[in-house]
Amino acid sequence: MRITVTVDGTSYTDDVEPRTLLVHHLREKLGKTGTVVGCDTSNCGACTVHLNGQSVKSCSVLAVQADGGEVTTVEGLARDGQLHPVQQAFRDNHALQCGFCTPGMIMQSIDLLADNPNPDEEAVREGLEGNLCRCTGYQNIVRAVRDAAGHMRPGAGPEAEQVAGGERTTTGVGGDS
């Protein structure tokens, strides 16, 4: 099937097999290897990206389902060399060790802050329940997300990705945000 997906601001048209998962399309066809695969049962969250402004586990979405959509991966967050506040907070708070869960954690954290701009510890833990980290024990991840909340202007959630990028196309349709 022929699909067109905008990923991190670039539009790509490709033929894909109907069974191809979005995460495999991103990694293998589009070279977006910043997004990773940690499991095969949709439990780990390592593959989390934003599809039309909402976080999704890209291993549980078919590439064809993203047709006409806009995807943001961890590679598309920084602007003009400026890290996204959540990226910065992960770094400042030592919220990663091996870094394998980190792309998914960051994408999920941004989504969670969009829903709840000032979450308490409990809310952060709950919001990240679908993302597993084996290295950090989560404490610094929780700290990072709360720290980022303090640095983000109100509403700088996933929607902001679609308007803030000067150079970026905004051809995404079907967004429910």
Partner: protein, 813 residues
Amino acid sequence: MTAMAEPEVGRARVRKEDERLITGRTRWTDNIALPGMVHMALLRSPTAHARITAIDTSAAKEMSGVIAVYTGDDLDPGGEVGMPNAWPITPDQKTPRRPMLAQGTVNFAGEAVAAVIARSAAEAEDALAEIDVDYEDLPVVLGLDNAVADGAPLVHEDMGTNKSAEWIFDSAAAGSGGDVQQAMSSSDVVVTRRFRQQRLVPAFMEPRSVVVDPTAPQLTMWSATQVPHILKTMVAMTLGLPEHQVRVIAPDVGGGFGGKLAVTPEECAAVVVAQKLGKPVKWTESRSETMVSAHHGRDQMQDISISASRDGTITGLKVDLLADMGAYLGIVGGGVPVLGAFMFNAIYKIPAYRFSCTTVFTNTTLTDAYRGAGRPEATFAIERIMDELAAELGMDPMQLREKNWIKHDEFPYTTVSTLTYDSGNYEAATAKAMQLFDYDGLRREQAERRARGDRVQLGIGISTFTEMCGLAPSRVLGSLDYGAGGWEHAAIRMLPTGKVEVVTGASPHGQGHETAWSQIVADQLGVGFDDIEILHGDTQSSHKGLDTYGSRSLAVGGIAVVKAAEKVIAKARKVAAHLMEASEDDLEFADGKFTVRGTDTSTAIQDVALAVFAAHDLPEGVEPTLDSEAVYDPENFSFPHGTHLCAAEVDTDTGQVRLRSYVSVDDIGKVINPLIVEGQMHGGLAQGIAQALYEEAVYDEFGTLTSGTFADYLVPSAMDLPSFTTDRTETAATSNPLGVKGVGEAGTIASTPAVVNAVVDAVRHHGVDDIEMPLSPMRVWRAVHKGDTAAGGPGAEAGGGLGSIDSAHGGAQ
């Protein structure tokens, strides 16, 4: 640079590693794509023990995109290749050959039987379904007691036994203590327990992956491994390749925890296939494959007895272990329980000790190192039985520990298991922990809840642990029949522009070596933190090393870096003296500058580096280089210790456990980077707590792993863990110039018994004196209401898990 720079060591530097990782500019092995690369997928046995009577690969070979299909006999017609076991713990250890792909029999569910090579990973995967294997079932051996029973069916028939080896330490024989039988028979009190160390899955987040490029004379292998150097040598030895024609690269590696301390059949098969086809080959596993085929950890049955006099003075300790190796021996499999042998006596002065351990084969995935490797098991058993002894004696469990531990003025102290602890201060760590925890206040609350028969009971768990790490003095490893040494290598290259490249043989996979090593070198050489680059994980640039495990990187590899820096300075001193026309003896080196004592004449080490590069004017006989390398072999292990306190609330109606607070005060010696240390503690605690409460690899009666996905194997999420209070005391190690001890495994080793002790303490008044791990609500409830302490058992219950696969067996009951 400023004249008096603040020391880098001790600073909470954010990590150099992070920028790439948070922006997705990563180099996981699975990211690698080479021209002409083909993909390998492996067919794995669905059955735990069977004879392979036929394999028909013809239909698979016809599938679209399939280039080749191989069986074990295709890859190794002579049946000669076996995965290495580097630690034969006894001269008569039985070591079955572990082939790349099964030959003749399959010995655990998940063992690879055939390999498909195809244009894409999906096509390779598709073709697996077309391979037809005929299995003739053999009796399945599961469970330690079953495996060693008389007349038990055998995992490896030709061996005539399921026992691999028996290893014994006896303090009377070693001359380090008395006879334990005698001690026990003349003591007031003897407490005996059987503890089960359930089987765990290391569950590194990055699945294993390997890419082999055979297109140059020197074959290149990328692998998601903890041990690129060991892998290079072992692959060469195992497959008979010339070692100089193998290059191994561990690029970004997504966690290991011992689980990637391995030389695997998959890696070797990829090499053989790549050589056969003359094309680059990639193999990346699915999580379901990881769960059944990457090695597991723990899985021991521990019979432990401790004797004491009425006043609480310990008189003897006896330990008999059965350790489940799975179907084969991994690279250090049999050695894992042996590492524990030295740690059962822990921080206590014990006059008589005997340890025996039997390593046993079963038809399960093999077990090998997992964070702590032998030491968490030992620490669990001793710290659990200290609580049981305290209960028996009617003593406060902390008082009992204090009565028996080595006092701070008794170091160095040689233990009953013959190790010499160089330093420590158990009193200081304990005092700080008790205060942070509010021990007395929580004890009061516990008494109140008990008195009013509260549904939610409170328990307090203690773990005053130590561990041996910094693996390891080579001569000690030699005396334990380990196949290699325990040194580490480092090299420093002084570049003409004053920048510095540091090569380390330690191979990080999340630990932050690039940051910590930069801090060390910045102080040693007086150069800027950002002017230093750390090179690791590629045997071409880092040609020598023994890699990362056993909390050894800093205490061994970090010291090698210091030694290399000292050599750089010694070389530079000669040149600096020559340049400034001064005597070497008159030079002082500080903050990166050589200064002629009593003058303001100085020259920076960067200027010396440039002068050496030009080499126009060097002193007689001096080579034009400052580059230096060092190989450091430690004289002793290092011995981090700490006091961990856990308060657990147990809902006696539901069996639900909630960790109310967790305080750890660790003494890991000098700290290079407190941020990294804190992260290591958090992660370690999470894994130890997970063993206590959540995780278990469960097999059904057919030998099928029923907790074979992340839906069934409960790696804790953020919701499942509390916030920890972590703090430190600091007693510098006297065994190395940085005074460091190591922190990688401390949290995991200490926390499991603290949690279980807390839960048992909460419900002891219900007659509960043990509950098998993981302490699922069902197990806790049954202990309280039915008196069943051994709820579960191998194959009977997916501990705390959803048990969704094991419907035939009731899942979580």
